[in-house]
């Protein structure tokens, strides 16, 4: 990238100009301190996690479709445990811990449209301490957000192989499409 020389004084043109040495910045570890959850128990139709968050230890129980369950279930449970370990103020703007009931809603929804060999979603927190599920593979960009207080999730889809093909809306309006995408395109 070019730099700018005026009156023999070098000035960076952009903040990532090589001469500005910005590209040498080393990322630092996340202070979120995520810890791997421990599966406390598995029983027919339910799973319990021991989760440590901000010095507190608690047990979270989820209803799951079956055990050992479909391939996407175990990675999802591990993601969920990490989310539950986020302490109060995890976003440095006063956010409360992630809402357990939202996670259960998301888990229930997944079992409605996922196939046994569908790719596992990636779980991340939302601004309102809900959860967002993402898939970015095989040309598909798919997100489903579940927020506290909302009965259903909200889905946004786009297809990199077909620019212009995108849709969004409440989860219930797109169940058939989701089922097809997760059976045909998003498979592990």
């Amino acid at each position: 990238m070019a730099s700018l020389v005026l009156d023999n004084i070098w000035r960076p043109r952009t903040l990532t100009d090589r001469r500005n040495d910005i590209t040498t910045i080393k990322p630092r570890p996340s202070p979120a301190g995520l810890t791997r959850p421990e599966v406390a128990s598995e029983m027919p139709g339910a799973i319990e996690l021991d989760v440590e968050s901000g010095g507190d230890r608690r047990r979270a129980r989820f209803v799951v479709p079956s055990l050992p369950g479909p391939r996407w279930l175990k990675p999802s449970i591990l993601h969920v445990g990490k989310l539950l370990s986020l302490p109060h103020n995890w976003d440095r703007q006063g956010a409360p811990p992630i809402d357990l009931s939202v996670i259960q809603t998301a888990m229930d929804s997944l079992s409605l449209f996922m196939s046994s060999d569908s790719s596992a979603p990636q779980w991340t927190p939302t601004q309102r301490s809900g959860v967002q599920l993402d898939w970015h593979e095989n040309g598909v960009d798919l997100e489903i957000a579940f927020e506290p207080g909302d009965i259903v999730g909200y889905v946004v889809f786009s297809d990199r192989n077909n620019p212009g093909l995108e849709w969004d809306g409440p989860l219930g309006d797109h169940m058939d499409a989701l089922e097809e995408i997760l059976r045909e395109r998003l498979v592990s």
């Binding site: 570890p29 990675p75 939302t126 970015h136 040309g139």
Partner: protein, 142 residues
Amino acid sequence: MPDRNDDPIGIPNGTRLFRRIDPTKTVFDKDRKERRPTSQNFQNSKDATPMSVFAENVAVEHGESPIDFLKGVWSGWCLVAVPTSWMRENGQKVYLDQDVQDPNDWHPSHTAVAGLKDPKTRKRLAEGYEWIVPPLNRYDSD
């Protein structure tokens, strides 16, 4: 809060806007083969003030560098750049906003990206990202 106008003179389309990224809100993109910020990073604030970014043209003018945006409470966070033109193409107003800032975290390049950010818009805004300070696990799938 009074409406402010888009400022294509002060913040031209050619400049980049830097946005802090929460490392817990990144996911692996198997097509791009790297982690990317989720759309949740591209929202207005919870107090309804517009999304905060830092305009590169103003930052250069004032001698600010990307690492200056990741100090103190923001250490450990990441930084992306998004073209100003991309924000405007997605219906956002962009203007310098030096007044609405924490006095302990004040930057001359502080800029507002105002406008509706529904889920579809957030997703589109996120797609314009370019890592400036990537997460440590940028190339890790999990």
